[in-house]
Symmetry: C2
Subunit: 409 residues, 2 copies
């Protein structure tokens, strides 16, 4: 992409009410635009990061046999009333609205009830199971406070996966497969070193659920971890009986803050029973379908990555999610000409700063936008038939022969 | 995709309240699931059709220099109040909701006000113009009646493009470019032969706007056309002064019904003025930005294509939007073995009916699902080292040598 051709410009200031680091930096660098607290527009750079995150998640889920669907936002109360979740007392983050033709509707904050309703047309026999369906869909949650940029949204993008099984054993098997897939996903996203499978409350249906917590100073959760971080637990289960279960003492654990980037939950028959999602088994007997649900906050992951790696100069993207791999700057007539040549045919990987402005301005924007490698071509580097390549993460600079650089594209 | 591996099954019946042909067929064939009137879930086949339509639209818009963004659904009343459009008297299809922390919000039925608000951070000089930004975003419209399947949704997918200019002349230039791009889009979508640029009301700001109307028996619009269809006009402008303008007499025109698949509009300064979207021109003078807006109903286009080509046996997709190019069936041991070989490495183009059921059932589903080419491999066809290929659109069948078929993948 040519920077001269996009409408995006870096901004000197974020909105005054944008107190989060991720919100302020992503706004200044042209990734997002704040509509109101917890609601953002996504601009071209931001859409690229979101698409990169989605691609990684999609690839890993498809590998374990998941299928993608897209469920509606507008929700009839009926199935939610059957599970007791349409009530504002039970679920306190609903946005509700009214049909012009009469009747209350809700904007889906999650999709257990709608996916069960849909699957009643498709599941009748044990031969139809197991099933694993996921979507990338905007969720709406009426949060009272939303001051954390895209870490906590009133309107945000989530990947939600639902699994359907003939038995609890099969649910357990798939649940463990998802843990492995999630580990791969967070590793690919660049969060592997700081993201831990974390014991959390399982509610009244199972002893534990699992969260995937990324250690982060501005994280909203408090977690406890042992020395080698082989045991991490959420504050909500930091209790004597749990510690005994895990065979660990209070003294071995340290406290820190973390952001929940994923969570997985054995729902069992919590929602499938009241909604009557049943199947006929091998013995011609009717049974209730077992369910699991598995979330990843896609826009939150983008915010966590922004918070995690940013430095005083701006954003720092891991290569796998970066909107571009290279930020290209040509200096002097010859350098610009050579940069043009390098850019040709690589419009997707290179953000080419072809604007008519000072190199210093370009360098500052390169750091703010946070593309992994800044490539500078000038008279000086051309004398060595090279380009100067600076790694945004380490700050290290080296001369790379142009021929070698081209091969890396 | 293996039919045995997807959760999708064709259904004998659509919901009883689904009276539209597109809604009933798309439901029975497993493309969509009805949540309520005008609100649908999209299942894997349906998502593929939507993605194919989006890809064609995106490619043609990118060619004329447009950039993609994604604007939020939740809307602050403020900018809409400035243009007078938050009022239910002015815009009667709002879904509105309440913030838990206080204050009314709307679900965006269109995005002029939000895109102008966002661009106030990015447009200041004539050097920032022209700009062409589009999105694919779910729109919410509180329709009293929604009985036309995905032809008229309460929640539906739209491509909306907005252009920004220093002058009316530049707006006119781009408006004409969009007409050319739209013609290419509808041609590629398979609707070229029946879709016409149609004169429609321009409101009080320009004499005409243009709609793109696909002639269709169940279309909700009435249009008039001359013999060679070089002049097509919406009933709303079927008036003496307009006919005089177009140099055509009432007697030369015939009436028909049509579905509006696109519309384009010169907004000029209608919304940019009240919202204060201004730029500094070459003479250091402040001016209001000129705007155009250009819609294509993505999910509606899917419904129009379904309505247009379906026959008594089911759906018929033009190749460019079809969820798969081939529907593959193997008969007998040898045929199935050869079909497996053919399928390998072509999971994206082939829907492989590898279910354990009668060929007759497979043939019926092939017709209902409407994939362009049915490929049957059996002992009989293998004797001629061939497959039997049936064109869903024409119904014509021919033997095609396997080697030749493989090359066409």
């Amino acid at each position: 992409m040519r920077l001269s051709k996009t409408f995006i410009k870096t901004l000197r200031e974020a909105p005054k009410d944008e107190i989060s680091k991720n919100g302020a930096l992503l706004t200044r660098a042209g990734y997002i635009h704040k509509v109101m607290a917890g609601v953002y527009d996504y601009l071209p750079f931001g859409m690229r990061v979101i698409e990169n995150i989605k691609t990684i998640v999609r690839e890993e889920l498809n590998k374990i046999g998941c299928e993608e669907v897209l469920l509606s936002t507008l929700q009839n109360p009926e199935p939610w009333e059957k599970t007791g979740r349409f009530s504002d007392q039970e679920v306190d983050i609903w946005f509700k609205t009214e049909l012009a033709s009469g009747g209350e509707l809700g904007l889906a904050p999650t999709h257990e009830e709608p996916i069960i309703t849909m699957l009643k047309s498709y599941i009748s026999s044990y031969k139809d199971l197991p099933l694993y369906l996921y979507q990338f869909q905007t969720k709406f949650r009426n949060e009272k406070r939303a001051k954390s940029g895209i870490l906590r949204g009133r309107e945000f993008l989530m990947k939600d996966l639902y699994s359907f099984h003939t038995s609890e054993e099969d649910l357990n098997r798939f649940y463990d497969e998802v843990i492995v897939a999630y580990d791969k996903i967070f590793k690919r996203l660049g969060l592997g070193d700081d993201t831990y499978t974390t014991f959390a409350s399982g509610g009244i249906f199972s002893k534990y659920s699992h969260e995937f917590q990324t250690f982060l100073p501005v994280g909203e959760d408090t977690v406890y971890y042992n020395k080698d971080k082989s045991v991490v637990l959420n504050k909500e289960v930091f209790e004597p009986d749990v510690l005994e279960d895990l065979g660990i003492s209070k003294e071995e654990l340290s406290e820190t803050t973390a952001a929940e980037v994923g969570n997985i939950f054995k729902l069992k028959i919590k929602y499938s029973e009241p909604l009557g999602l049943k199947f006929i088994d091998e013995n011609n007997k009717q049974n209730v379908v077992y369910m699991g649900c598995y979330g990843i906050g896609i826009s939150r992951v983008m915010g966590v990555i922004a918070e995690k790696f940013a430095d005083e100069k701006g954003l720092v993207w891991p290569e796998a999610v970066a909107p571009f791999k290279y930020y290209l700057v040509g200096i002097d007539e010859k350098g610009i000409k050579e940069a043009e040549k390098l850019y040709e045919g690589h419009e997707e990987e290179i953000l080419f700063d072809d604007r008519d402005c000072r190199p210093g301005e370009k360098f500052a924007d390169a750091e703010l936008i946070g593309v992994p490698y800044r490539v500078v071509i000038s008279d000086k580097t051309l004398m060595k038939k090279s380009a100067e390549v600076t790694d945004r993460m380490t700050g290290k600079t080296k001369l790379v022969p142009l021929a070698e650089l081209k091969k890396s594209f």
